[in-house]
Subunit: 223 residues, 2 copies
DNA sequence: CTGAAACTGAACTCGCGAGTTCAGATCGGA
DNA sequence: TCCGATCTGAACTCGCGAGTTCAGTTTCAG
């Protein structure tokens, strides 16, 4: 049998390609498909095309592997959303349409298989691994809210929005726009009709603008 | 030893008191404390003061027991919330304060240990038991939204709110008022400072009234 | 009083999965 | 060419937990 150093067989997966990232990719898939408890180390190793001891060499144990997977996933998702937010222009041109466009992108990240799965995994294990929750928030939702708050603040400064507190507005924007998603997609276990999605986003943005749109006066604060 | 039909010893739990409900009570506690996978049938039986075969006689297997627990829990929680909503008056007297009061009650149900635990369990097992999700929604969130929509609609008919669609407004009210809860309480794993809770509720109601309060005109629909 | 139904407790089966061990293969670098 | 690090595969340990079995007990209706 001649040596096969010129190419790796994809299935068997021998060679010096990054075992570590292969394991992480496989772990994401298996964890998100099966859940933490149901996911088997054997299955992950097999999916990664790697021997079990290799996996243990890299990650120590199952729980630690899970932590790394969650942190990476949160960061990846957050980066995608932040990139989408960065494309929100500062001039108030067609503000409603722009907000809808951005909201769509944000919402799509949550609707992705990975997004939902990460959220479910986080909920499921939050009480067992409270520190993990903090880390995921720090790398995930926090930066998203901060960036969004910044954009909204820009718009407010130029008179296109009427806000008291950009951070609150950012949180409420996200709540309004994605509050219906769990129901629509049954926590991500069912596909969402694009029309339903569009409606959800539109009504969310509508209400946001009813509250914070600039042509309108805001109601007097109650005593 | 004289007969003890006048009273059961609470600890040992012998006698004809409802074994079934004793098991359910214990199951709620153990499932919510440990999560589905970690919860042991032995632990549940022990907590219920019941022998394992009795448990299996009543519920067949672990998964079915879990289903019953979740359905019951959803119904119980929904009933509490609905009761709170029913106390929302129809006259617009001090509308903001009344909305806040109701929102507080709604939010407290989600903040309760059982509320959070049920939500985490639902998220965790939704992909494995999709039908369960439907049932929980049908007995849990759906009635709540319907009742709330009814109350809001009443208020709108009397000119105290300015709504297009009461169902949408109800969903958005809940989203605005409880959107911050996961972050505040770290998915229910940490206590929430009453002041933070009050702020979250107040800002949610504020924004809701900015969007739907009656003195204001609603922004023109965009093309 | 009696017999059926429900309950008990303890021991048992059985499969699963996390983590380990080890002898050998493979690779990169010097 | 050779060393050390890394990877492999397969077999193994070990504990855990779901579900069962069974012989004996309690309860209650008739």
């Amino acid at each position: 049998m001649r040596n096969v150093n010129e190419r790796e067989l994809p299935g068997t997966g021998r060679g010096r390609i990054d075992k570590r990232s292969a394991i992480l990719d496989a772990a994401v898939k298996v964890f998100t498909r099966e859940g933490y408890a149901q996911a088997g180390i054997d299955a992950i190793a097999a999916a990664a095309g790697v021997a079990k001891p290799t996996l243990y060499n890299h990650f120590g144990d199952k729980e630690n592997l899970f932590r790394v997977v969650m942190r990476d996933g949160a960061e990846r998702t957050a980066n995608r959303i932040v990139a989408a937010l960065a494309s929100l222009p500062d001039d108030g041109q067609d503000l409603a349409a722009e907000l809808e466009r951005v909201a769509h992108r944000v919402v799509e990240c949550q609707l992705s298989d990975e997004g939902w799965a990460l959220q479910r995994l986080l909920y499921a294990e939050a009480s067992r691994l409270p520190d993990l929750y903090d880390q995921v928030v720090a790398r995930g939702s926090q930066p998203v809210q901060d960036v969004l708050a910044g954009r909204l603040s820009s718009l407010a400064n130029r008179g296109h929005l009427d806000l008291d507190d950009p951070a609150v507005a950012a949180a409420q924007f996200i709540a309004l726009v994605s509050g219906n998603l769990p129901g629509l997609s049954a926590l991500g276990t069912r596909p969402v009709a694009p029309a339903d999605l569009a409606t959800a986003v539109r009504t969310g943005v509508d209400t946001f603008l009813r509250a914070f749109g600039t042509p309108r006066r805001r109601p007097a604060r109650r005593p």
